[in-house]
Symmetry: C2
Subunit: 482 residues, 2 copies
C-alpha cells in the first residue's frame, strides 16, 4: 500500500461544526477517494480500494457458500429491453446514461449503460431455464453501474459505483421470499461482523420500494450525525420481471409456470457508511477487519539508532504477518508527530511507537484508535496477543456504534417529540402507512420511513402525524437519510 | 457451481473440419459464455467466470506482491482528455463508444467509455506526484473496457471485456523499462504456470505497438490451429503521457522532471487462449489450476445402491476438499454416459466413476482428460495422492502444449517455405524491419510479425521477403494471429 502521498497532518473540520465538510475533507485527506473529471464520478484511491477489497472478500465468500455462482453480464443494455418492465423503466429513466455513437457511427438503437441488471439478466434467465430442475437459478455479479446523480457525494451517491448484484429465479413465491431474506442476512452479517455497523434490517414501505419490486427489504445504519444510511437492499420481484422477459419453467406436471425472482445489492456506498459510523474529529476509525493496515509501526530515532529501530520494527511486522495480521512499517521521511496524526486520520486500529529507549527496555507504546488509549507494553509476546487484541477492538468498535445508535433512537408518541427526535436520530413510531402522509412528514421534517424492522413486537394505535389507525401492526423507524 | 443447464452430450464440430466452428460451438456448449443482446458483447456464464476468477487470483497476487496497489478510476473519460495524446487518440478513435445523453439531457461534452485508462489515470498521476519521494507510483485496476469491434469473437475480441491494467510512473527510463519487463514477467509466468500456455515473450515491431507507446512487449501463444494469440502486453510509454498530462516531479536537486510511465494489461481474452491452446475434438481441456472442478465424481447405479454410492462419493469429495482439491459430485438426473461426455466437453482434469461394484471392491475408475487414459485405482489413499496427480496433469498439459508449439515452429530461409510455415504455425525469420514490407507479407500470407523474442541468439542476414539487410540483430516470429 503506497502511503507516500500523505494528505494528513492538517486535520479536518470537526463533526459538530459541519458534518458534511468533515466527511468531504476526510475522504480526500485520508486518501480514500478523489473526485473524477466527470461530475459525480469518483476515483477510488488505493487506501479506499483496499477497504473495498476486504469487504468484497467477506461478502463474496458468503454468497458463494450459499450456492450462488458469479457471472458477468454486459454493461450495455438495449433501450427496448429496459422498457419491458414498466415500473422499472419509469423508476430509472431519469438516471440513465445513453450511448448513441460507437465505432464512429450513430447507433440505430441507443444503448443504456446499466443502472442495474434485472433486464439483461432476465433475458438470459428466460433462455437458461426450461424445467423445474433448472431451479433455483442463483446468480451474482460484481460490476460497475451508472446512475446519473444530480447531487453526487463520494461513495454515497456517485454516477458510477461498484457493487454486487444478486439475481435469482425460483419455482414459487415462498422460495423467492426465503432467498430475499437469505441475502438480507448476508448484508446484516457483513455490516455487523465485518464493518462493525449495527444495522437495522427491515421492510421498506411501498413508497420506498425498488422500481419493479413487490417487496424491498434493507439494512439501515445510523451515521454519527444521527442520519440513516441504507447500506444494502434485497428485493422480491414477484413475477414482474418473469412476465416481462418470459422466465418460465415446466413444472413437474408439465405445466408452464412463471418464475418468481429476486435481486439484491450492496455497493461502495458501504465505505461511506464505515466512515460516517465510526469516524471522529481526528479522522477515520476503521474496524480491524476492514483496515488495510491493522497495525502500523512507527520507528522513532535518528541515524544508526533509527536503523536498529527500523530493523526491529520490520522483524515485529514479519512476526505479525505470520500470525495473519496486516502490519505496516511507516519508514517515510517525516516526523513521528506527522505520522501519528496521519495514521489517526487514516484510522489504523493499532499504532506501535518504537524508539531506541523502548527497544532497550523491550517495550513499545501501543495506541488504540477506537478509544484513544495509549500504554507501554512489552514487546515479548506482543505478536502472539495481537490477533486477540484486534478482535477485541473489532468488538469495541461495534459496541461503541451500537451504544451511539441506541442512545439516539427513541420511541415517540407525539408530533413535537417526533420533530425533535428525527433532528437527532431515529424515531420509532406508529404510522398510518399512507404515502401522502409519508410525503407530508418528509416535507416538514426531511425524515422518511427507513424500514419496518424485522422482529419488533406487535403494536397498533394511531399515526404519529395524522391520527389515522396505524398500519403494519408494529412500529417503524423514521429518520433523515443519506 | 450450477451445472444444471447441461449443454453437452451433442459434441462439437471437429477442429480439423472447421476450427472456428469448433471454437464457437464449444464456448456455448461448455457453458463458458453466450452472446449478449448487443452485437459483440458477451455474457460470461458461471463456468467461464470461475476460470476467470481463478486466473485473476493468481495474477492479482503477483501484482500485489511486487508493490502495486489496486485502485479504481472512472468508466467515463471526457473526450477532450483522450485527445491530449495524439497517437493515442488516433489509435483508439475508431473503436470508441460515446455517451451523449445522461439524466434525460444532451451532455455538453460527450463522454468516452474507457477503451483503456492511460489518460484518466495520467490526470491523477499529475495530481498525486510532486517529488521524487512519490516515485515509483505503482497502480493497477481491474475493470471493464469497451472497444467497438467490427468482427467480434467471444473472449477474443468483444466490444466489452474484463481486464487488469497496470499504470506506473517512474523517475527515469531505466526504471520504467525494468517495470515493463516485470509486468511482462507476470504474464509469462501466469500463462505458463497457471494456464499451461508456453508463450513466447518478446518485443513488438514498431508497426504493432500500442497507440502512444515507445516500446511494446507481448506474450504470444500458439493455438491448436497454428495461429498466434497475443495474450498480454506491456508498454513503455516514454514521456509521451507525462508530457500530455504534465506528470512531473521535483528531482532531488529540485529540478522539475517529466516522469516515464508504463502500462500493461491482460484480459478475458486469456480464456479464449486456454480454450484454443488445450482443447480437442471432445471439448475443453482445462489445466488443473484453472479448472472450476478439478475432480468430478460421477456416481453410477440405481435405487438404494445409488444412494450408497452417492454417499461414498460425497465422503471422498469432502476428503478431497480438505486437501485443497476442488471436487464436485455430479448428482444430476442423467445417464453416466451423458455425464462422461459432458465433463469431457467441459474439460474437467480428472473424472472418477464410482459404481456399486467399485465400492465393494474399494476401487474407482479414474479418467485423465489431458491424455484420455482410464484406469481402475484403489479408493484408499486416493485423496492423499490427488494433489500430486493434479500437479502432474498440470505439467502434462503444459508439456503437451509446448510439444505442439515446438513441432509447429520452424526457422525458414526462403519465401516459399515461409508461406508454407505460416499456414501451419510460427515462422522464425530474419526481416528487414520496414513497415511496408510487413504490410506486403500480411497482404500475401495474412501473417504478421508477432514478436522479437527475448533472449534469442544474435543473427544477421537478409530479409525473408525483400532481401534487404535484416533488422533487430536476431530472428523474429511471424504467424497468422487472432
Amino acid at each position: 500500500m503506497s502511503t507516500k502521498q500523505a494528505g494528513g497532518g492538517k486535520g479536518v473540520t470537526p463533526q459538530s461544526e459541519d458534518f458534511s465538510a468533515w466527511y468531504n475533507e476526510l475522504v480526500v485527506k485520508a486518501e480514500l477517494a478523489d473526485r473524477g473529471p466527470v461530475k459525480g464520478t469518483m476515483i477510488i484511491r488505493p487506501y479506499g480500494y483496499r477497504i473495498w477489497e476486504l469487504l468484497v472478500a467477506e461478502l463474496d465468500a458468503r454468497i458463494k457458500a450459499t450456492g450462488h455462482d458469479n457471472a458477468y453480464f454486459p454493461l450495455f443494455i438495449p433501450e427496448a429491453d429496459l422498457r419491458r418492465e414498466a415500473d422499472h423503466v419509469e423508476g430509472f429513466a431519469p438516471e440513465l446514461a445513453v450511448v448513441t455513437q460507437a465505432g464512429g457511427k450513430e447507433l440505430e438503437e441507443p444503448l443504456v449503460v446499466r443502472p442495474t441488471s434485472e433486464t439483461i439478466i432476465g433475458r438470459s434467465m428466460a433462455k437458461w431455464i426450461t424445467s423445474h430442475r433448472d431451479l433455483p437459478l442463483l446468480l451474482n455479479q460484481w460490476a460497475n453501474v451508472v446512475r446519473w446523480e444530480l447531487r453526487p457525494r463520494i461513495f454515497l451517491r456517485t454516477t458510477e459505483f461498484l457493487w454486487q448484484e444478486g439475481h435469482t429465479a425460483h419455482a414459487d413465491r415462498d422460495e423467492a421470499l426465503a432467498e430475499m431474506r437469505t441475502a438480507l442476512g448476508f448484508y446484516e452479517e457483513v455490516a455487523r461482523d465485518v464493518a462493525a455497523m449495527p444495522v437495522v434490517p427491515g421492510e421498506k414501505t411501498p413508497g420506498e420500494r425498488f422500481a419493479g419490486a413487490e417487496q424491498t427489504f434493507s439494512i439501515e445504519g445510523m451515521m454519527r450525525d444521527g442520519r440513516a444510511l441504507q447500506a444494502g437492499t434485497s428485493h422480491y420481484l414477484g413475477t414482474n420481471f418473469a412476465t416481462a422477459f418470459d422466465i418460465t419453467y415446466a413444472a413437474s406436471d408439465g405445466s408452464l409456470t412463471l418464475c418468481h425472482t429476486t435481486s439484491w445489492g450492496m455497493s461502495t456506498r458501504m465505505i461511506g457508511g464505515v466512515i460516517m459510523t465510526h469516524g471522529d474529529d481526528k479522522g477515520l476509525v476503521l474496524p480491524p477487519r476492514l483496515a488495510p493496515h491493522q497495525v502500523v509501526l512507527v520507528p522513532i530515532g535518528r541515524g544508526e539508532a533509527l536503523d536498529a529501530v527500523v530493523a526491529a520494527a520490520r522483524d515485529l511486522a514479519a512476526d505479525l504477518s505470520a500470525r495473519g495480521v496486516r502490519a505496516h512499517v511507516d519508514t517515510r521521511d517525516a516526523s513521528p508527530g506527522f505520522k501519528f496524526n496521519d495514521w489517526e486520520l487514516k484510522g489504523a486500529p493499532v499504532r506501535l511507537e518504537l524508539g531506541p529507549r523502548d527497544l532497550e527496555a523491550g517495550t513499545t507504546v501501543l495506541a488504540r484508535r477506537v478509544d484513544g488509549s495509549k500504554e507501554t507494553v512489552p514487546l515479548a509476546g506482543l505478536a502472539d496477543s495481537m490477533p486477540a487484541l484486534l478482535e477485541e477492538l473489532q468488538q469495541r468498535t461495534l459496541d461503541r456504534a451500537r451504544e451511539f445508535r441506541d442512545a439516539n433512537t427513541a420511541s415517540v408518541e407525539d408530533w413535537d417529540s417526533f420533530v425533535g427526535q428525527v433532528a437527532e436520530g431515529f424515531a420509532s413510531v406508529l404510522h398510518c402507512g399512507r404515502p401522502d402522509c409519508e410525503d407530508d412528514i418528509k416535507a416538514v421534517t426531511a425524515a422518511t420511513p427507513r424500514c419496518i424492522p424485522i422482529g419488533w413486537p406487535e403494536e397498533t394505535g394511531t399515526c404519529i402525524r395524522c391520527d389515522a389507525p396505524s398500519a403494519y401492526g408494529q412500529r417503524l423507524l423514521f429518520a433523515r437519510a443519506y
